[in-house]
Symmetry: C2
Subunit: 231 residues, 2 copies
């Protein structure tokens, strides 16, 4: 992986080490999300508890990568592409940490809700969750290779996730209207669905950071045409 | 305002200028949230449209401050407290931008929902919204003075906001159960309530950055005792 053209091999090694840690954090977050989905789907309370317990690992990784980034800026005074990499990493880990929170929140629903009552509502979350995990997996891949085209592909997947989310919400609303007594329980599932939908937005953010790193352009808040011109 | 002890007056001026822009952005976001609340409460569609229209100003400020921060790192190679200030700013503007999104989302509810139907549900959002605006106002004040004690005070306000939010949700759930036909409309209001509750979390994040800047300690994810030891 070539970053900016600096002569210090040590500096390169430090950047590479931070990047590896980000990928490790991403892998853990993906696992958390996947375990949370399994726990919800199979009513596996032990697995759900593990997800909640392990959230602190994600948090600790965020703090330690953040520190490493600040240290490298102070010590190596990166400019241009190196600096953009560090900036992209600082922002990426914030989004990863929040995705970790989503996993933990879903796991809590699995713990708090009596399985028998909720089984029929849970089913509908699985495809949504699966799509979110795929999106996260692919964006981490794009990040590992700093691949703009792959990032642009992942970016588009969010529309599909949004559509699936809308379908889930409509389905849950129907349940609510049919059986108003169950509204509080169904709302819990709906919050989870929304949190999963937000995972897609966070993956899109990471796509933006990848594009920022490679192209040196901040595409946040641009319309599709302007984005296409940059890509 | 004294940052690190560097001799360049120009550097100081640049840091001060960025800080001023952050406060400007914060002021705009506070106004957006306040206008959105008024629009919802008084069914003022024109004001709501203005909020939606002006969201791009918040976004543009985020991008431009972000660029200024990256530029100052590349050009001035800040270390220690200066670097912490720049880092705190980079993170703060992300949270401010998201609060801006909340304003815009509330404004959209005001536009999309027929006023007569929703009036009774809107009422309940006003105190919640007011509390969130107060919290934002106070955290911006704390940021302006980089006042750790003030930040610690704001941090605690979130419990009150959470309690108010829970009360709103319970009230809205009652409406839902009483009148299941209205569930889709009430859900819109509930999403808004949740978004407002999240404003409190974002204000807490900004408190954490203020404490990071002043104390040089990252208090994210620490428990209350550990935080107290640092403050």
């Amino acid at each position: 992986m070539h970053f900016g053209r600096h002569i210090s091999g040590q500096f390169n090694a430090e950047l590479e080490s931070i990047r590896t840690h980000v990928l490790g954090m991403g892998g853990l977050v993906e696992q958390q999300l996947s375990f949370a989905m399994q726990a919800l789907h199979k009513d596996d309370i032990e697995l759900a508890k593990k997800v909640v317990r392990d959230d602190h690992k994600v948090n600790a990784m965020e703090v330690s990568i953040d520190e490493a980034c600040t240290r490298i800026i102070a010590k190596r005074q990166p400019t241009a592409k190196d600096l953009r990499l560090v900036m992209a990493i600082i922002k990426t880990i914030t989004d990863l940490e929040r995705i970790g929170d989503v996993a933990s929140r879903i796991a809590r629903v699995a713990i708090e809700q009596p399985s028998t009552k909720q089984q029929k509502f849970h089913v509908s979350l699985e495809p949504l969750c699966r799509q979110a995990i795929t999106m996260l997996h692919q964006v981490l891949d794009a990040f590992a290779r700093m691949d703009v085209d792959a990032a642009a592909e992942v970016y588009k997947l969010d529309d599909k996730l949004d559509a699936e989310y809308e379908a889930v919400v409509r389905q849950l609303m129907t349940y609510m209207m049919e059986d108003p007594k169950n509204i509080p329980n169904i709302l819990q599932v709906m919050w989870s669905a929304r949190a999963i939908e937000r995972v897609g937005d966070r993956c899109q953010n990471i796509c933006e950071y990848i594009i920022y790193f490679v192209k040196g352009k901040d595409i946040r808040h641009l319309d599709q045409k302007a984005i296409n011109d940059i890509l």
